[in-house]
Symmetry: D5
Subunit: 149 residues, 10 copies
């Protein structure tokens, strides 16, 4: 009896290591970006029926688990408000150090409003560099203005 | 008597509004990106002497304030661990929702290590879009591997 | 020398009590809803130039203060994560008690996504009732779907 | 052996996904609003005997589980003080951004007191809109005045 | 220029010590209970015009301060979530140790609902006792039932 | 194997619901107040041998569980520093809003010291009222003075 | 205008350093232990009139400051829940490491109850030791039993 | 399979209640103070091989459990930063109320440094008193000076 | 079915105590420093295939467990933000007391930037000393400068 | 009127920037290490009279400020439990990632006890390296064993 999406995420992670599956292969299997696919497998997005069946096949999940993949999950992948994992912390630090800068520059360019985290996409690539390869990430979010009424 | 960088940041913000200065103009004045320049003006980066003098002129700062601009500041621009401002929160949410995804994909591509938040640059642009313009942000950070020893 | 919007908010509150001004009168003066106008006066929204001048006249503000009213503020009006004021706490409690219900019902009706807090409006009215008048609040927010990519 | 209501909530959620039950159908089955019914199924309200038996039949619960549905639960559906799920967070943000506004406007209209979160009802509807459908929520709470004594 | 009620509370406390005023005398002056009067002087309740003028005379307050006494304050008198003062902590401990007991007994007697903290009064008296006098406190709050809808 | 009192509390709660036992009946069975008895059953007080045996019979507990009822428990019945359950929160709010008032009035009457939460009793009764019945609670705690030395 | 005891504590500390006063001399001046006297000077205890006048003379305080010394203060001398100062932290660590031990041993000897922190005294002495002198602290608190009722 | 010391502590507590063992008897069995012995049984100190075998016999532990008794544990016996149990809280309160006093007096007597919590012992005794017996606790810790270098 | 690295860490710790294995022997077995090896066994570093097999043999792990040793773990070994274990706390205290000093001295020597915690190594040795042996720890981290762009 | 050491620290920092003083020069002036000297100037250590006078001359401090330099300060240089400054955070991260490793290795080598943070010294040096210079830090702390009693 499965009572939340986290249990399915744990099944996926367990199968992934046991079977040596790669996220890029999972993404190829459902024909979407590796970014969205991985987030969805980690319990942050909702699969439709066809996608859930492919994911179920890839990781060997039960019908019940596949049903849960189609239920909108309770999101948020950090166990603590300030993340302790060094890789994820560096991103938190970017928000901490550059947060006020991002706010100022978006407001200077667009006025009052936000960059959407829902109408949003991300693309992460390796950028070869003689001084050591770099992680290149492009974030794209729709600007949503505050309106007076 | 100035005893920390925050006081200088407040002087800069006060002068910026009073004089109607734009961050892009400040960046042009010191010949660097608007992202780095704004972060530095907001107390997150260190100016060299020549830059500090230009900044001092732009905002009408005292010699003492200019001296402080050349001192490495205590960084971090968020007043609380979880930011309350909606624009900045969306970025925190991205780290929360996509944090584990970013971690998985960087490790799959590069192995154990992090994306540097120090050897790092950011470029923020408006991307015209018929469905509403988008905020496009390119983040570039050197990959730093953990090494066994 | 003003260095943040909070100082202007304090000036407005001080003048409001000293002069006995009502929020509904302020709203009438700028021709917008009392909800948006009050939020803006309390430092949560950005005024345009014409509005800022009217507000400045109503509360007797300096030119510098009026300039700050046109700068996008750092938002969030609660001094603590869990509010202590009984009236505001009741709203926090609604989110706490009904939060999972709202989530379930929106997802059942719309699928995965959120109700926007930016493309949003609020209307608060007294509803006469023989058992004691009621506060009636209508919240309207655009549904924003998560999209796969 | 069941020792708290949370266990029953998990049984309900598990059965809901496994059987593909909809909240609106559950509400129809007990003849109450979808808002109250969902909150009650999620462990925030107390069922009477007749309601508990219908719920038990819908979700296939044991007699012991049905007995627990009639016990007043320990309420609060958020796992953290500041919710991490994007949909629920938007509501928290509304309280954060508009909290002081709501307080000012209720006090201006009614004087000192609160809007009850107990003598309260909620109605959530889809509002069709050519620019994208909207979530419309009507909240109604009795005004309770503070009295001197 | 006064911009919040806390400043008036500090004026009252300062005058109280300087002039050696007693709370029971203040209560007698406005003809209400010492409990409500003290809470109001400490910034937790709202005075009407006539009461504010008496309070103003007792403590020697300015007209502006008296105006603030008539504005509903932002409530909550504890500087931290868990109080550090030993006397106040004992009350927090009572809620901590007896909280679940109070909940069980009210639900057993009244069903699902709460004891109002708004339609509420308190009476605190010295109870002589040969083993050491006791503090006797009577709390009275209206029961408010949750209603299904 | 039982290793803490919480496990026994869970057994009691489970049996209570399954058997439909009332706290007032349990109190009658051991001949003490319903307030103390309920607190003790919820793991906040220590039973003596005779009481533990009666409790054990009422709820059908094992000898090992009865032994644990006679061990002083680790007290505190709130899962979070600020309680989320609406009924218990109202009590926390009373401490928050009236805390400084209680402190002032006890000190004015008794001098420096505290109201004991140990040499303490509580009596909770329904008070019929045409405007809606009220919860009446009498708290009695010995005054303990600070002494200089 | 003084509005809380903390301001008087700061005056005392300022005068103490400027004049090179020792706590033991202050204690001798009012004829009480150095432990109680220091705690009282640091804003944790209440002086009577005669004592306040001596303290006022020793530290050169105004009449208003002396009046505040006779008002029961809001107690608690730690700025954070977990103290950061190494000396004070060691005491917090003792409570952390030995807390459960102290609880077990007091209950084994006395039964359910507490060691009073109000009917309490402390004596701190240097104990010469060839391996390095030791700090010896004797704590004495009345045992207060929980009573059933 | 045992994977941390806490599991052994739970076995000890379970056996203690089931068998009615007293801490003073355990201390006598290994020939050390009741304070150190209890702390060690509660997972705060490390036993040597001979001691572990005696403890194992007293409580009926397996060889694996006895091996864990000889591994230095991860220390700290409080589940929350601010303890909720009334007895342990009183000790936390002592640190809170008297912390700055202890700091001042140790520095006045010894200079800059700390009282060790490692080179430390504690002795807890009942002190008969006609006004109610008292808990007497002697704490002895080596003074460790900060040294310049 | 293993679903995270923590489970493998618990297996390793369990086997270590049961078999009496030493970290220095594990380090010798894989031919790396005891510092890196221990950190990796405790779930903070990633093993390669050959290393994982040796570790698997030393501790008697399953193939699935060995696969998990090669997956980059979610790092951070402290259960709370401020550690409670006395040994680990001393290190936290060093960061607390000396943090601003380290920052000042690195900036004075190197300019703005950080000492890497990724391109980093540590060497911990016993240093014999007639006044009591000392723990000597050498930390070496690459300096990474902030660059303007 | 100075009432705490922090005010003196701010004077020192203000003078340091205004006069362009280096920590290594301050250390040379009082003939001690740059590590201890900087920590002391930042309010973490206590100067003796002779040292205070030199520091006073270097930074141009008043007699009152010099007196405060000789008073043991309240220590701890981090404004938040988890530091936000990137350089200091890296050190916190080391404690987080390597904390359990350090604990295991010290216990394996020395048995139960701690590495003193009081009988402690630190030496920070630049280590030239063709791949980028490194920060080398040697920490030396006396091992203090827990003793049974």
């Amino acid at each position: 009896m499965i009572s939340n999406r986290d249990e399915v995420t744990r099944m996926i992670l367990s199968a992934k290591v046991a079977k040596g599956i790669k996220w890029t292969d999972v993404a190829a299997a459902i024909g979407l970006s590796k970014e969205w696919t991985t987030a969805a497998c980690l319990g942050q997005m909702t699969f439709n029926k066809a996608q859930a069946e492919i994911i179920g096949e890839v990781f060997g999940l039960s019908d019940e688990a596949m049903a849960w993949l189609q239920v909108t999950p309770s999101k948020g992948s950090l166990p603590t408000a300030v993340p302790t994992d060094p890789l994820i912390y560096r991103w938190y630090e970017l928000v901490n150090v550059y947060g006020s800068t991002i706010k100022e520059l978006i407001h200077e360019e667009f006025g009052d409003g936000i960059m959407s985290a829902i109408d949003f996409s991300m693309d992460l690539q390796r950028q070869p560099d003689p001084n050591g390869d770099r992680v290149n990430v492009v974030l794209s979010g729709k600007f949503l203005p505050y309106k007076s009424y």
